[in-house]
Amino acid sequence: MLKRLVIAATIVGLAPLSLSGAAWAHGPSRQKVTETIEINAPVDKVWKAVGNFQDMSWLPIVAKTEGKGGNDVNATRVLTLKSGGTVEEQLDKYSAEDHVYAYEITKVDVKVLPVNDYSSHITVEADGDNKSTVTWWGGFYRGYMLNDPPPDLTDEVALKAVTDLYKAGLDGLKKKVEGGG
């Protein structure tokens, strides 16, 4: 945050403020992504695979999950990715009964995931006795919080990164649950 403040101060100090609207790129606004997948398995079985906050092994890009606090609110985890990057996360809401948990990213490099202030939830809903629908939802800002983002930290880049992550993750989950059937 301090670094961001310094950057903000610098830019505000230098940028002429009288430019016309067209000359300015967009200021940030929060983005939203929802991806769902249907899995041919009962809701309890899917929840067993996805519902443990301390085990993100269903997400193909994750090499290791380390955390503390179990599935209690405020529990934390650090995901080490196969690429070597890490993501630190915190549990904000958990209901085994409703098959939902919500979490946020507390620390991530924009090179690993080009987002800021990311929060998310994963829900599993029964779709008959032997089918379930998994929804992965996220709200976040792009990786650059000031006006005029560089091309690798725009809204579009953030949206694509999260959408791709969710799609790959849900595909991986489906394969894992159905394959292990």
Partner: protein, 320 residues
């Protein structure tokens, strides 16, 4: 057509004095206006039936909202296009747009002066706009990244939640001077002043609490632990209601003891929140679930839900 609005229109035509209507006929429209940021729209929700009755295009990724004293005009900030947008709430049309630059987010209207105040997130000032000419007439330098704004009911003071200074600026409206900066919790966002103009309440995004300020004394009198990432505060029936964005709850606390009474399960990214004038209901905008929720502040339960446009934020005062 809403019955109250018909009556209001008749009065407006008969008297030609819009400003007198609010005093004569409080609550003449029972409606919420929700700025839906990702979908570039404004949803109108009838609060009696809890149904969306209209949706209009408001481009520029609208976030902040304030209503004129007579509640007939809405002023909306659009940080993407860096504009202030005027909407006729009765005819439901965008009437004027003003380019401001910077990052307009929070907004408040003066109770008697023809002025609205817009917080500029990037240039750390409050821009004053004359609502008659719809032109900028001045600005006030405050702390870093001002967010929520609120004016005392008597119109003498403007309070600004300066997010990146962890403080609230108290501005004298007449002289446009900052009288004090009161340190609060970390990253204050929404700010609400009580009906008597005695206390102000900030929702502090990073410290997960709400700070209570004695406005006259310019001092903090206490704080309340909220859920994760609080956004804004509403007051009703001797209680405070705080939207917890990540927690998906509304934290209820006693305004006297400041003790937490309950966390009501609401929705993902509960954001804008405001109480009815008679304090019988509290309304919550759900950014994540595209809904407006109604809460009974006495029983502390959700009693109604209306589906609205994608991504409602309703940051400010959005009930008319």
């Amino acid at each position: 057509m809403h019955k109250g609005r018909l009556v209001f229109r008749a009065v407006k035509l008969g008297l030609g004095l819009v400003a007198s209507c609010a005093a004569v006929m409080p609550g003449f429209a029972h409606e919420a206006l929700l700025t839906a940021q990702p979908s570039d729209s404004l949803s109108f929700v009838d609060l009696d039936s809890m149904k969306e009755t209209a949706r209009i295009a408001v481009t520029g990724k609208p976030v902040g909202i304030a209503l004129s004293p007579d509640k007939a005009t809405a002023y909306i900030t659009a940080p993407d296009s860096k504009e202030l947008i005027e909407v006729d709430a009765v005819s439901r049309k965008v009437t004027r747009r003003l380019f401001l630059g910077g990052g307009p987010v929070g907004i408040a209207a003066h109770p008697t002066r023809p002025e609205v105040y817009v917080a500029d997130w990037y240039t750390h000032k409050i821009i004053i706009v004359d609502t008659v000419t719809f032109k900028t007439i001045g600005d006030v330098k405050v702390g870093d990244s001002p967010s929520g704004l609120a004016v005392t009911p008597d119109g003498t003071l403007l309070l600004s939640a300066d997010r990146d200074s962890d403080a609230v600026s108290i501005v004298d409206v007449a002289s446009r001077k900052v009288l004090a900066s009161v340190p609060v919790g970390k990253r204050p966002f929404g700010i609400t002043i009580d009906a008597k103009g005695v206390r102000a309440y900030t929702a502090n995004v990073k410290s997960d609490d709400a700070t209570v300020i004695d406005i006259a004394a310019r001092k903090v009198v206490g704080s309340v632990k909220t859920g994760r990432r609080p956004y804004a505060v509403a007051l009703a029936g001797g209680r405070g209601f705080v939207t917890d964005q990540y927690g998906g709850t509304v934290t209820v606390f006693d305004l006297g003891t400041l003790a937490v009474i309950k966390r009501i399960d609401t929705c993902d990214h509960a954001e804008g929140i405001e109480a009815d004038k008679d304090e019988k209901n509290v309304y919550v905008s759900c950014w994540g679930e595209n809904a407006l929720l109604r809460i009974d502040p006495d029983k502390m339960v959700v009693t109604g839900k209306a589906a609205v446009a994608d991504g409602p934020r309703a940051f400010g005062k959005f009930l008319r």
